[in-house]
Symmetry: C2
Subunit: 196 residues, 2 copies
DNA sequence: ACCTGAACACCGTTCAAGT
DNA sequence: ACCTGAACACCGTTCAAGT
């Protein structure tokens, strides 16, 4: 509130004349962000449509990671962005899930998305990618942990030392999303309806 | 720091004699929580073992949701809890994944876990389950959004109105985790090694 | 070695008052 | 209707000083 006020070259209290409290302000900004979400043509095929809608959601949250905790709180909704949820639900139903399973899968996708955005936001070069050089690249948590542990006691972690950081950077949202969908969607075996 | 100091019936500055700054303190508390993690017997079967290890991790974070943002930051590690990661990696490898895919799947699981804990922590009756009665049960975000929208425009969301809250409460960590594993692990078809 | 008080630069918010 | 200043109850942290 105080920072906003000084950015507006005003006093903190002036803000309170337009807004009840910080939560109301956050709700308004959330709605503003939701309205700014681009709505491109989505693929016709349900699975590609689903991937596109989820990736759009992911990108939007990556661009505005501060909204994640607000949305996670659950009481504030970016009403202008519910079309994304509608698209995801529609695609999940088109792919063979009933309402409840579709909703459940949507929740899994949301938790995964929220978690990844939260992790990605707190990483070097998140927003300030301009600087480029960061000296030596800060050890990964696996390397930190293994530095003071017996490799023989943690053989699988030991095998990650020096490689985990690179692999984590290489991780793509579509990787995890693909796994979730592969696990949640009904399998279409070689022949459609071969097994009733 | 100030709250800690007053809880200790001391001054904020006394704390700074034992600890460099708040981050060092958080690291120490994180390590303390990690050391308090129970280490029960885990099932022998890799998949059950994996589910048990992940659920243990989930429960630990649910009990201490404030550590999630700290762990997500990535620079602080609860070294005494890395055995959970070792167990997860070991089970994933035992289930047929190579190092890189196992690590990738571990990341997916972590993102999902972090996201769900973050969502669950900010829900009514999270820690104060003792109170029990909460009057009328606060509308779900689906209901909030749909209250001001045309049901015809969002048919799939409209079908969730009044049911989504219940379904969200019914959601179990094992649901999403099961989907992730089903999608990430190699399929063992009816006959082992039938298709090379 | 261990602690203190005053101070600085921050928060969100209330209250009484000004135009 | 719109804004202000002073104040309250908070933060993390520095600095000089006390035992």
């Amino acid at each position: 509130m105080r920072r906003l006020a000084s950015a507006l070259r005003s006093t903190p209290m002036a803000v309170y004349h337009h807004v009840r409290d910080k939560d109301e302000l956050l709700g308004l900004v959330l709605e503003h962000v939701a309205r700014g979400l681009p709505r491109p043509e989505l693929p016709e095929q349900p699975r590609e449509r689903l991937l596109a809608a989820c990736t759009l959601m992911y990108r939007a949250f990556l661009d505005n990671p501060w909204v994640v905790p607000i949305v996670a709180r659950g009481d504030l909704v970016g009403v202008s962005a519910v079309w994304v949820t509608e698209e995801i639900m529609a695609a999940l139903v088109a792919l063979g899930l009933d309402d409840q399973h579709a909703f459940r899968t949507h929740q899994t996708i949301w938790y995964f998305t929220a978690g990844q955005v939260m992790s990605a936001a707190h990483r070097p070069g998140a927003t300030d990618g301009a600087t480029g050089q960061t000296g030596e690249p800060a050890p990964h948590y696996v390397d930190v942990a293994m530095a003071s542990r017996d490799p023989a006691e943690f053989p699988h972690l030991a095998r990650l030392v020096g490689r985990s950081r690179h692999w984590e950077a290489e991780y793509r949202y579509a990787d995890g999303l693909g796994h979730i969908l592969d696990g949640a969607l009904p399998r279409h075996d070689a022949a459609d309806g071969a097994t009733p």
